[in-house]
């Protein structure tokens, strides 16, 4: 299992899609390819944009299917961040 603390890279308001993409490509995909589970730790992240969360996880759901969500846990998310993640996860699973 790998634990990724996001605050250092994304700051208190997670909005930079380039950083999201980097995390996805450099950390999330290699971990999943290596069969590891992932903990995305949002401690101290106060807010996030839908664009950021989309850039972080949508491609994983598209590539690996909905089952990839069994391999990823979202830790220490406040209500806002939970809401944004839920929106992205829902629309990615419902659209074809």
């Amino acid at each position: 299992m790998i634990n990724i603390k996001l605050i250092k890279q994304v700051g208190p308001f997670a909005e930079n899609k380039d950083i999201a993409r980097d995390i996805r490509i450099k950390k999330l995909i290699p971990a999943l390819e290596g069969g590891k589970k992932i903990v995305l730790d949002f401690e101290n992240v106060e807010g996030a944009t839908q664009s950021f969360i989309h850039a972080l996880i949508s491609d994983l759901i598209r590539k690996y299917g909905n089952e990839v969500l069994d391999e990823i846990q979202f830790k220490s998310c406040n209500e806002t961040v939970q809401g944004i993640i839920s929106i992205v996860v829902n629309y990615m699973q419902e659209s074809d």
Binding site: Q50, S58, Y91
Partner: protein, 318 residues
Amino acid sequence: MKIHIPHSAWLNSIDTFLQEFDPSKPDKLKITFNKKWMSIHPMVLSMIAAIGLKIDSSKIECEKLEATSKHYLERMKLFDFLGVDSGIKIKEHEAAGRFVPLTQIKDSKSLTKFITDVTPLLHLEPIHAEPIRYIMSELIRNVLEHSLSEHGAIVCAQYYEKSNTVRIGIADTGIGVWKSIRESHNPTNDLEAIRMALIPGLTGTTKRAGGTERNAGAGLFFIKSIASINRDFFVMYSGTAMYKLLKRGKKIKLHAEPFDDRHSKRNDLPKLDGTVVGIDLSLDTTQEFTLLLKLLNETLREAIKERKKARYRKPQFI
């Protein structure tokens, strides 16, 4: 080009200002002012600054300012953007709690810094700061990713104590909404392109419903929804078209189709090469962001269901 800054130009009456904009002779700019008073939305300032950045300052002519409110334009740094000496001397007031002067953002890094700085500048409570930084971040990022403007995004904002409202304006002189959407779709005109840009799941970066790994095509829909829920104005002007979200009635209902919202629209305005967005956020009616997210979730689900239904085909028995 000619621009006249009138007595007042707010989002509810922005049409009058826009229809007087003269985009002919694009290598020159003449700006005239109301002689007595000018009370204008940040959208107007952002638009003028963005246009001014494209033109050599020696070709920008500003009429002598007489109105008592002329200091406002200086303080918002309009003349710095135009490269014109206004002749106005002001004591620089502390910006905190009042306004974000015109700022040019050309890359992702400066956007992140701007968003970090903006909340303390406007001195907002978290409940109000959340939608404002969200809106600014998503709108500016849209410009950086889709407008192809060499000058990036021009943004400014102002807090109005009397109405307890933050008003935001963001402009670019890039390819405009029509060309951006046309990369993957076939909008018939500027208004249709704005409509498409506001529909969730539709993006200029792909024909595929639901977007790409980078773009979901939901950013503008989110922003329009924040304005709708809070009963605020939202205006988008690009090419010859303008879409204006009007204040909704008592019933809270989000629409994936922007023409189903209470709105006004036109497609006969002077042609603007680029895009300008204006939004008002009343701090009295700001809803909890989490409530907004719940409603957005439901609306997006419905939109996806509708989209699937529209693509569903029955077998043809002959």
